[in-house]
């Protein structure tokens, strides 16, 4: 029909991957990423797929050379395995700076040097007289208070030196920074410049003048200010080359004093260098009391004096040892993946370099070690050493004038002294940050020790952003609130020390307060480090509050989350007052069962989900009580996703309770079955085989109480029927239970006869349950439905030998062998594997209470994307279980939110083509077995499904993914997850609140060729929709138990019945997508391959018609008639059929 030649249009429709094309459309970058992924998909299967290695015998058994033996030995000693060695080498290649780029950077540095020494001088003026500064530049420092003594003049630097990692060769891409120290001439400085920020003022003015001149130079692409390590008193000047190298390198200029200008004894942590009289305009309270020490201020001055000596130390220790340098580079990557190195007070690359030096000097690291060994040793050291308690020092001198480590512990939370013994390298690192480093190191060590195959990937290649690493996060916004908090906490000396940086001053006390309050609920509390801003030279420096928000991450302890009580001391104990003071009005006297009268705090929480959110109550209460931070400033992100798995009526619960009620009812039923009298064979086992019984049903069942007027009763079979004149009744899905009988030789050995005997058992079971327990039952040939307490169970009697009977094949010689048949596999899956899986996951839920929430959110999301039909319930449950059983590099999630984010991450990054997802339920698989499974997987890859999930019970076949998804559907899921993850993370990390959390759950509809809109009247689960309708139809349920004891309408879901018919009739021509949880629309995608004209064949006429094309007769789908069929088959249910594309027209 279109103007383009038919041939071309057809080409566009050829090839399965194109089906998903519209889904890949995205903005800019994403589109590109997706298209490259698509390309890999379209490639022949051999490419991008690991092949089993085949080496000839001659190659395998040839005489080894010396070189080879050495290499092998080295690998064995220095690295974990050859794979790890290769991986580390590749990674280093990727992050290391190439020689070519180094040359370009060197050239740029020479230019910078020339420019800097040629900046003209300025005559001397008072520090407060800044009129000489040109108009285009602002002083990069908040001068509060403004008045300060002293004079300033600009003279070109006496010396320009490159310091830091660049010279050592340990700097890593992509952000290459070169630190350059500019030694200010002695003439600029005066005595007592160490006092009252005078030195810092001069330093800032020095930079301002430099900036003004350098900005006019065409050599530089950008000239701007930043803070050195985030310290607000110490700006630095950033220079970037113009042109294509702009992103290559950033040169940071740090002015520093001439050597020996400051007397080190004046800068000890116990000394004061910011006078209260000057800073606060008042002398300290009660004359005569000493000035508070200013340890941080002193450290910042000291840092400037030690730049060169640190470089010298590092280059002598690391200089010639490549292994150490590699180790430092690996450590930097490790830190960066954990976001530990960035921001103010981060655990920087410089710190780990110094740590390596320390370990070398204490002989814990040898210079011949490999990078991997250095990484391991440093992690081991960090994991086992608490620098917040036992500081370390690089200083070897035993000079008595040096301060003791204890003095430093008094002043700083983390102590690591440099070789002078006076400078604490970790002065800005908070205790929380260090504990986080320690925690990460410990996790990494367990990972390295576990001999996991993909340790490298998890350790160095997996990013751990805060939102994905912590169970809950909370944002404090706006930050200006912290200023008031500082006053409330009486932190004036700290403010004086920090130069007015109230964020840093408040951080320590704040985290301590929350850690104490959260107590046993908390495993780890971490805080984001304020980002280091950059600003143009004509702008004022950013204020403290401009650094956005402060984000705290909470890693919760699942055991601690079940209690609603904070138990305090007994009322007459002296600690009681302290407890009362800490908890304020929430503390009450309570009498306990053992007779004790104690102080206690009780939080309001009835359901599991509310208990999970008790930390929210704790945090808001304590912050308001102790720091005057009101609730409106605390944006707690712990449960916004809960809304997606909340039922309709219980908005306070995420369904764990309702599931537990159903499971409890099932337990009762299984007891009844065990005790049943009169069955020819006794019951030997009752096993659940339904998502409800493993806590993973998205919407838990509620007891059914049918209103009889709503139904057509079928009295003689004691059942209810749906009525034509009423809306579709509520959807009731029976819960499958498998019932095994004791062994007996009486069973027939013929498949048809076994079926009949089983049917007889089903009938008998129904009869007995009705007789002995008065339960409403309904038996069919394959199952017995039982109505108990409003829940409907579907009992399936299983005979252990039946799968075997179905498998038996007799060879002509009379030998009986077992061969899998579809029927036997199906039966085995339903009666053996499914109950095993259900009980294993039920156990997992007992261990990890968040499992239910995660699995249900994940399933809900997949279904909301209309892909639910292609993934079995069990496969998605197993993926969710993998997040708990193999959480590395994280820990098992304790909240549905973080679990769901990791689910999206796993789905979007897992390489299904080359790896099976091993879910080691109950830890049954040994490491050796896992290796065997992996190699077996590679050998059999082409025969396996696209998505392979291995469990201890199912090591080869991946039963739950046998029938789907197809490669295209899986790809679609991967693309959707890759889009949803950053979007959702951005929403959750937005300090002003996440906004509409349902965005990522709404499916894209523009990719479908036809949309079939359904009438809500006949969608029984309409209210479960992602965007829950404001009003829906009555579904014939009573709120109180009614008189009717008839069997309710079971499994009657018109959309599902409709889909079944559609797939049966048009499955060859189209794919159908639907969200079973209240979807109002069915998406239809035509299969392009089926739309190619085909020659007439009796076997492929389905829904097609004959057309003549160029004199030839061919078959094409009869689209007009099919579209009308959509409406005919769904009469009453279908509202409209919208054909949205004309893709089928040829």
């Amino acid at each position: 029909m279109g103007p383009a030649p038919t041939g071309e249009q057809l080409c566009g429709a050829i090839g399965e991957p194109e089906v998903m094309e519209p889904a890949l459309e995205g903005t800019g970058k994403e589109g590109k990423k997706a298209s490259s992924r698509k390309r890999t998909l379209a490639e022949p299967p051999a490419k991008g797929l690991l092949q089993p290695v085949k080496l000839s015998r001659a190659e395998l058994y040839k005489e080894p050379t010396n070189e080879e033996l050495n290499h092998l030995r080295e690998t064995e000693i220095l690295f974990h395995s050859s794979l790890l060695r290769l991986q580390v080498e590749e990674l280093l290649k990727e992050v290391r700076l190439s020689e070519k780029k180094k040359d370009r950077i060197d050239a740029f540095l020479r230019e910078v040097n020339q420019r800097v020494v040629r900046v003209p001088s300025v005559p001397e003026t008072e520090l407060t007289d800044q009129a000489w500064l040109p108009a285009g530049v602002r002083v990069p420092l908040h001068q509060v208070p403004y008045a300060v003594k002293g004079c300033f003049r600009f003279l070109p630097p006496a010396q320009v030196t490159v310091v830091g990692s660049y010279l050592l060769g340990t700097c890593i891409r992509p952000d290459i920074n070169v630190d350059v120290a500019l030694t200010m001439p002695r003439e600029i400085l005066q005595d007592k410049d160490g006092l009252n920020q005078r030195y810092f003022r001069k330093r800032a003015l020095y930079l301002a003048h430099l900036a003004h001149h350098l900005a006019q130079d065409p050599l530089f692409g950008s000239v701007c200010f930043s803070y050195t390590n985030g310290c607000h008193l110490k700006p630095s000047l950033l220079l970037r080359p113009r042109g294509k190298d702009e992103r290559l390198v950033t040169v940071r200029l740090h002015p520093c004093p001439p050597p020996d200008f400051f007397r080190p004894c004046r800068l000890l942590p116990t000394k004061n260098n910011v006078r209260s009289a000057w800073y606060r305009g008042q002398s300290p309270a009660g004359d005569g009391s000493p000035e508070p020490p200013t340890p941080h201020y002193n450290t910042w001055v000291l840092q400037d004096t030690a730049l060169e000596s640190h470089l010298q130390l590092l280059s002598t220790m690391l200089g010639s040892a490549q292994g150490l340098k590699d180790g430092v580079a690996l450590l930097k990557v490790w830190l960066r993946q954990r976001e530990l190195d960035k921001g103010q007070g981060g655990f920087t690359g410089f710190l780990v370099s110094m740590l390596v030096v320390f370990l070398v000097s204490t002989h814990k690291i040898h210079t011949t070690m490999s990078g991997y060994q250095v990484l391991r040793s440093v992690l081991q050291f960090l994991a086992t050493t608490d620098l917040t308690v036992n500081g370390i020092s690089l200083c070897l001198s035993s000079d008595p004038s040096l301060p003791a480590l204890a003095d430093f512990h008094q002043a700083f939370s983390v102590v690591f002294l440099d070789s002078s013994g006076r400078l604490n390298l970790c002065a800005d690192v908070t205790a929380s940050t260090y504990h986080q480093v320690q925690y990460e190191a410990r996790l990494s060590m367990t990972l390295l020790d576990s001999r996991a195959d993909d340790g490298f990937q998890l350790l160095l290649m997996t990013p751990k952003p805060m939102i994905r690493a912590f169970d809950h996060v909370l944002h404090l916004h706006p930050l200006s609130r912290l200023q008031a908090a500082c006053h409330r906490l009486k932190l004036w000396p700290e403010l004086q020390d920090n130069g007015g940086d109230y964020v840093s001053a408040a951080l320590g006390p704040l985290t301590t307060l929350l850690e104490q309050g959260l107590g046993t609920r908390l495993k780890l509390l971490a805080h984001s480090r304020p980002p280091v801003p950059e600003w143009g030279i004509s702008q004022d420096p950013p204020k403290h509050k401009d650094s956005g928000s402060l984000t705290l991450g909470l890693l919760l302890r699942p055991e601690g989350l079940t209690s609603v009580l904070e138990l305090g001391p007994e009322a007459d104990q002296p600690e009681a007052a302290k407890f009362r003071q800490f908890w304020g009005f929430r503390s009450e006297l309570r009498r306990f069962q053992d007779g004790a009268i104690r102080e206690a705090v009780v939080w309001e929480a009835a359901s599991m989900s509310q208990k999970r959110l008790i930390p929210h109550q704790v945090v808001t209460h304590l912050l308001a009580l102790h720091t005057d931070i009101p609730e409106t400033c605390v944006h707690y992100v712990g449960g916004p996703l809960d809304a997606l798995i909340q039922g309709l009526k219980q908005t306070s619960s995420t369904g764990e309770e309702a599931l537990a009620v159903a499971v409890c009812c099932y337990d009762d039923l299984s007891r009844l079955l065990w005790g049943l009298e009169g069955l020819p064979l006794t019951v030997s086992a009752v096993q659940g085989a339904h998502p409800v019984l493993r806590y993973t049903e998205v919407f838990p069942p509620t007891p059914v109480r049918p209103a009889s007027s709503f139904y057509e009763p079928l009295q003689e079979r004691s059942s209810l029927l749906p009525r034509l004149d009423k809306p579709c009744p509520a959807y009731v899905e029976p819960m499958t239970v498998v019932c095994h009988l004791e062994g007996s030789g009486q069973w027939p050995q013929d498949a048809e006869a076994v079926q009949r005997v089983r049917a007889a058992f089903q009938l008998r079971l129904a009869e007995l349950l009705t007789q002995q327990h008065g339960l409403q039952c309904c038996a069919t040939a394959t199952h017995t439905d039982v109505l108990k307490d409003g829940f409907v169970f579907r009992i399936r009697v299983a005979y252990q030998r039946e799968p075997q009977i179905l498998k038996e094949v007799q060879s002509p010689e009379g030998m009986i062998s077992l061969r899998d048949t579809p029927a036997s596999l199906h039966l085995e899956r339903d009666t053996r594997q499914l109950p095993l899986l259900t009980s294993a996951l039920h156990g997992l839920q007992q261990q990890h209470p968040a499992f239910s929430g995660v699995a249900r959110l994940a399933k809900r999301w997949v279904r909301a994307q209309l892909l639910g039909e292609d993934f079995t319930d069990e496969s998605l449950d197993l993926v969710a279980a993998a997040l708990f059983l193999h959480p590395e590099p994280f820990t098992p999630p304790s909240s549905p939110q973080v679990g769901f984010l990791r689910f999206l991450y796993l789905v979007s990054t897992f390489d299904w083509k080359n790896n099976p997802l091993i879910v080691n339920l109950n830890n049954e698989l040994t490491v050796e077995e896992q290796v065997e499974i992996r190699s077996g997987f590679l050998a059999a890859r082409t025969q396996l499904p696209v998505m392979v999930i291995v469990t201890p019970q199912d090591r080869k076949h991946s039963v739950w993914t046998q029938d789907g998804p197809s490669a295209q559907i899986l790809q679609q899921l991967v693309v959707l997850a890759a889009e949803a993850l950053p979007m959702l993370e951005k929403q959750l990390m937005d300090p002003r609140g996440p906004g509409d959390i349902r965005t990522v759950f709404r499916p894209p509809l523009d990719i479908y060729d036809v949309l079939i809109r359904l009438s809500p009247r006949h969608i029984p689960r309409h209210r479960q929709a992602v965007d829950s309708p404001a009003a829906s139809f009555c579904r014939g349920l009573l709120s109180q138990p009614g008189p009717s004891s008839l069997m309710p309408v079971l499994g009657y879901d018109p959309p599902q019945l409709y889909l079944m018919q559609l797939r049966e009739a048009f499955g060859d021509l189209a794919l159908f997508f639907y969200d079973q949880h209240g979807g109002e629309v069915i998406g239809v995608l035509w299969k392009p391959t089926s739309f190619q004209p085909q020659p007439f064949k009796a076997s492929s006429t389905k829904g097609r018609m004959v057309m003549s094309r160029g004199g030839e007769l061919v078959m094409v789908p009869n689209v007009e008639a099919i579209l009308e069929d959509f409406a005919v088959l769904g009469e009453g249910l279908v509202q409209t059929v919208e054909a949205r594309s004309e893709r089928w027209t040829v």
Binding site: L91, E94, P174, Q337, A753, S1099, E1124, G1130
Partner: protein, 280 residues
């Protein structure tokens, strides 16, 4: 050249080359409301010489592309205008052998959801077939006088039909088991009769019955025996006893390492190609 969207007329327009197929098309619609129609492709049922077919030659009409809402009854009604219809059989795909006429149990073999099917329509007289081949249509499946249920109507009535009748099931099971028991008893009696009686070549079949049966002739059992033998042999063997054994096991270790190294290299190569070594 753009294509014509036109159904193939039952008889070719003059000037067109004769089509390679001999299937006239009969338009069929669900009801009058529908605009477009599907096409039944019909042909007199005939088979190649030598092939067995149970459908009566000359009286059977073979119909392709029967829409899902079209039941056996409605097809029978629609074609009755051509002559008296003896039987209609709907199948998923063409099948020459007649489907088992014995009605399959509705309890144990529920009817599958229908898609597009093929039909074998047997007329009482051969004239019915030729009349059907000339049918112009369009046929209407559901008319006011003979409505066919679809959508909600159909699902509700299907649900009502599916509500099980335990009595009927019991009766069916009992009859089946009776017949089965009888069959087994007969077989046993026959086996007993044959026992000790030589067949025409003089072989005597001996069966052991008793509390401890002999090893069954199954594949699994024979594999088990072989495995046991192998283990017995392995237990007797000495490891790394002779120098050559030692040398060989060392070489084997080296070969393993080499193989692993090659595998790792391949893995790395793949990861590098996917740019998987970019840490951020």
């Amino acid at each position: 050249e753009p294509m014509e969207r036109r159904p193939l007329p039952p008889h070719d327009p003059p000037g067109h080359p004769s089509p390679p197929i001999s299937f006239p098309a009969i338009p069929i619609k669900f009801s009058e409301k529908q605009q477009a129609s599907h096409y039944l492709y019909v042909r007199a049922h005939g088979v190649r010489q030598g092939t067995k077919s149970t459908w009566p030659q000359k009286r059977t009409l073979f119909v392709l592309n029967v829409p899902p809402y079209c039941t056996e009854e409605s097809l029978s009604r629609l074609l009755s205008s051509c002559g008296l219809v003896q039987s209609v059989e709907l199948q998923e795909k063409p099948d020459l052998a007649e489907s088992p006429k014995e009605s399959r149990s509705k309890f144990f073999h529920p009817k599958p959801v229908p898609g597009f099917q093929v039909a074998y329509v047997v007329f009482q007289k051969p004239s019915g077939v030729s009349a059907a081949l000339a049918l112009k249509g369009p046929l209407l499946v559901s008319t006011e006088s003979h409505p066919v249920k679809s959508g909600i109507h159909k699902w509700i009535s299907d649900y009502a039909d599916s509500v099980p009748d335990p009595e009927a099931l019991r009766v069916e099971v009992d009859t089946f088991m009776e017949a089965y028991d009888q069959k087994i008893a007969e077989e046993e009696a026959k086996a007993k009769e044959e026992e000790g009686v030589p067949d025409e070549e003089g072989w005597v079949k001996v069966t052991r019955r008793g509390r401890r049966p002999v090893l069954p002739r199954t594949e699994a059992a024979s594999l088990r025996v072989l495995e046991r033998e192998r283990r017995k042999r392995a237990r007797k063997e000495l490891l790394n006893f002779y120098a050559w054994q030692h040398r060989e096991s060392k070489m084997e270790h080296l070969a393993q390492l080499r193989k692993k190294f090659e595998e790792d290299k391949q893995r790395i190569e793949l990861l590098r190609a996917q740019r998987k070594f970019r840490p951020y």
